[in-house]
Assembly symmetry: C2
Homo-oligomer: 590 residues x 2
């Protein structure tokens, strides 16, 4: 694998942590590594276009190897360039090669009203960025046209000094990903050329008029939202990668019962990511070359809705997985700290997941009218039968075999989605009727309603994608093990929805919780012997994993012994040992 060869050879990918002790050294290393990523052939745009399965594979291995530098690289060479290619036009392409400081005669003026309006951003603004993509309200002759994206020169590329008219700086130490220089910027009536508006979806003419090539503002919105999903689509894959890294260490060390549902979740998520990243890259290419223009707005909306839920739910599942791994083994601290930002960047999860329920809420009136619901990725097509699903919904399983039937599990999630959609819709309506604003109506309907709706919706879609993968498997042994993982993930996730199943009278009597618990225990017991092989099949190589407890040969104590004896601190007195024994004397000197 060319990638591994490059990493093992390149001096910037040192893995000896003891030589990188300070904050500044961490930063410097991340910059050098991010630059070095550019030389990896398989990560190049041309390589990706040849095979749209490559981005998922690359994200996985790079995030498991070197998360801070990979995100730094992705923001500069992927998000920045994607913003230019997706939302800009030919006049911006020079930014993709060598970024120059263009000055035009017609300017936009960027202004931050006060410090509370400061922009804070990951990815390089703190110390190293020369340009930023800035989302700002476009105001022309006193009329606001909403958020638009601009390319904004921040620092002089020749000397990295900030331009006058703005204050830019670093945000300091974080929980994790400290190689990335998060920064803030405050604009003080800072002029940028008119041409720096990324103008694919909306343009301002020389005489200050607003024009857009997409006439329907909803469609304009849909296409733009799709493009904005890039970060979230990738983060969903990052969550999977980080979760699998932690699970590799913990499961190889001790395949405990409570880790196994997370193993199942990782497999389900992996199939989903492989599918969804390919869908997203195809969408980006179509957007760029201008094909499939009729379907793109709806597809953009659906990608936005799905990515808002899958990023949140993948983040939460893997947060729990990593924490369980940490409690069951050791050496997981960095993974946990680096994973944490996934929960809050590119949309804080609790806020973000409202985007999904907003999209779904619009469908309830269609369900009531028994209209056909059909979306490009078919994630919500089953809602066409919403009334029927609600009418017939009833828990009917009595045996392990019955509750484990995949079509049964799918139908429970379909009922949950329909029921929570109905419940959320009427909750929002009630809030609106009581005089609440749209913002507060949604906000008051979040807990127990809209949030749960988005969660069951995406869990159903994860399961649906997994089922489609299972149906493609030819080897019956593989089909069988994938089905077991599907069932375990499906039933285990269902536990949290027991209150809804009773509340909506889908379940009655004492059977459901007992059967669910019994089945999950049995599935975990059955899976236990295969757990190490299953994690081995998706684990990163030892060089990337870099773990004492989780090495692929399983020789935990051998590695532990050698690591302990070879640690630079292990067998030495601290240099300041006399301070310890002379404490009383020292103190009197102070």
């Amino acid at each position: 694998m060319k990638f591994m060869k490059h990493c093992k050879k390149c001096p910037d990918y040192i893995t000896d942590r003891s030589s990188v002790q300070t904050f500044d050294e961490t930063r410097r290393l991340a910059v050098r590594q991010a630059m070095s990523h550019k030389d990896i052939e398989i990560l190049s745009l041309s390589s990706i276009i040849q095979n749209l399965k490559r981005p998922a594979a690359a994200t996985r291995i790079m995030m498991q190897f070197s998360p801070a530098s990979t995100i730094k690289y992705s923001v500069v060479f992927r998000l920045f360039t994607a913003a230019i290619t997706n939302m800009g036009t030919e006049r911006h392409y020079h930014y993709l090669d060598d970024i120059e400081d263009g000055k035009g005669t017609k300017n936009f003026i960027l202004n931050s009203s006060d410090f509370e309006a400061a922009k804070c951003w990951a990815g390089g603004l703190g110390q190293s960025a020369t340009h930023a993509i800035v989302y700002a309200q476009l105001i022309l002759k006193g009329i606001s046209y909403g958020l638009h994206a601009f390319v904004v020169p921040i620092r002089d590329p020749k000397n990295l000094l900030p331009y006058t008219g703005l204050i830019v700086g670093d945000m300091g130490e974080k929980i994790g990903l400290n190689g990335i220089d998060n920064g803030f910027v405050v604009f003080n009536k800072y002029p940028i050329p008119r041409e720096n508006l990324l103008n694919k979806f909306g343009e301002v003419t020389e005489d200050g008029e607003y024009v857009s090539p997409i006439k329907d503002p909803n469609k304009r919105h849909g296409a733009a939202l799709g493009s904005l999903s890039a970060g979230r689509v990738n983060i969903t894959c990052i969550c999977e990668a980080m979760g699998i890294k932690a699970l590799t260490i913990a499961i190889r060390y001790a395949a405990q019962h409570r880790l196994l549902p997370y193993l199942a979740a990782a497999y389900v998520l992996r199939e989903f990511n492989t599918y969804f990243i390919e869908v997203f890259y195809q969408f980006s290419i179509d957007t760029n070359i201008g094909s499939k223009k009729d379907v793109l707005p709806d597809l953009g909306m659906e990608i936005h809705a799905i990515s808002s839920a899958c990023k949140s739910v993948a983040g939460w599942i893997m947060k729990d997985a990593i924490q369980e791994c940490r409690e069951a083994s050791s050496g997981i601290g960095d993974v946990r700290n680096d994973h944490d930002a996934n929960l809050t960047y590119e949309g804080e999860n609790h806020v973000l997941i409202q985007q999904t329920s907003n999209w779904l809420l619009k469908m309830w009136p269609l369900i009531l009218n028994e209209e056909k619901i059909s979306t490009p990725l078919k994630s919500a097509d089953f809602l066409s039968d919403g009334l029927e699903i609600l009418r017939k919904g009833k828990f009917t399983a009595f045996t392990f075999e019955e509750i484990c039937a995949p079509e049964n599990i799918i139908s429970i999630y379909q009922w949950l989605t329909c029921y929570l959609l109905k419940r959320s819709y009427y909750k929002v309506e009630t809030e609106l009727k009581s005089g609440k604003s749209n913002f507060w109506a949604k906000n008051n309907s979040h807990v127990y309603h809209c949030k749960n709706l988005s969660i069951v919706f995406i869990q159903h879609f994860f399961l649906q994608r997994m089922l489609s993968k299972i149906s493609e498997a030819e080897d019956p042994a593989i089909k069988n093990v994938l089905t077991n993982l599907f069932v375990l993930y499906g039933l285990w996730s269902l536990e949290k929805h027991i209150p809804t199943l009773y509340h909506g009278e889908f379940a009655q009597g004492p059977t459901l919780p007992n059967l669910l618990q019994h089945s999950i225990l049995k599935l975990c017991a059955d899976l236990k012997n295969d757990a190490v092989s299953l994690i081995d099949a998706v684990a990163p190589p030892d060089f990337i994993l870099n773990s004492i407890l989780g090495a692929s040969d399983g020789m935990v104590y051998k590695h532990l012994e050698s690591a302990i004896y070879s640690s630079p601190y292990a067998m030495e007195r601290p240099k300041w040992w006399k301070e310890i024994i002379n404490w009383k004397d020292n103190k009197s000197k102070l």
Copy 2:
């Protein structure tokens, strides 16, 4: 407050993190701070004996201020000395003053069979300990008498060099608490004097015979287990302190709905800790002065059972609280990393909590015989009515007022404890009858059974203690707010037990989940305006909190602006800025 004065004045309590960048500097600072704790009058043993409420107060503020050094201090000057005073006799008291290297003619031989038998320990073994309390199997003439505690000289106090016959070293970097030098030790037929056995509960005579002053081995066990609870009792208070530190920051920044149940949990836990730490210190004093000998074994057992559950449950609640705070605000990373060890040291939570269910399981046969159950702290007395509780158990609330009635909430938890006790008992029996060993029978009955049993038992005891506090409050306004916190914690914790309530047919029909959700939302909405005052009442002072977002004056953006502009990295180019702009040239030189 003398403590604050000392901390603000003492040069070892510097708070400028930028001067402590490396691992070694972190270690050195923690040692100096831990030594410095010795000079704080209020932390001294004599001060504690005067007022048994002081240890809880001291643990709270010190853990919020400087966790690594506080734990280091506690292990050396509390756990070590407690082990000597609780389990040793007069012949060991010289260790409490100046520790000398005594050699006797009759020796015990300590031996680690291989590296897997290495002892790993927090608290100073890595770099600085001169003596350790080592638990080892006592084997006399080929017969094992079980675990006993020994004082073992590890390093020469004059030069901190390890003695021959053992290998001792440091375990390196951890997730948090890096000031503490966790270490490992391997003994190679290492001799220690016979007198180094801590012999209060069991002694070996000069001619190698085993004698014990406590004739009943169960009672010996009970008294010893009580003493061993010291760490867990303190950790429960540490969990509360760390949770409150995080909640102070997050609630002052944004009193979001999802933080409020944790605020309620923190209050409930706080009342419990204030009570339980006093109980524990009284128990320790009684053990040391040899009073109340008839009740101490039973009390020791009960303290062991309670501390095994409260440490685990407090650890888990506050883990979630801290994580929610981190997602809702900023600057919580260190609290989270330092809290993590609470989940795994002094008994890994999942293993530890079995101790509680083991104690409870013994009571089911008594319940069946309708015997009176009476324990010194009355935590399980309600089990005397176990059969009646199970017979009458039924969810009867239909309104907010009904479900919020404290006696109603208490009775639900009593039913849950009885039901899960019965269920766990028969599950273990079934496993045993199918030929499983005791270990595997318990292990296979952990998930959904014994673990949940221990959790509802301790939640009931938390609530019972809170109710007792409420009944003592004279001011009706305070009574009211404490009751609301009691109810919110009680109902919110109940959500996770909904499956059990349906499975045991305590609940039927759709009412329970809906009423519970509605009530929790209403309680949170009612609490929202008081949330900041409530956290202010238990928050550490700004000097200890040391947070930008959480300062007591609420001026978030003012502090944020000044912190950002004054950070050493904020406005400077990195020293290696030329590497960024000259990347291509640099690379060609490599």
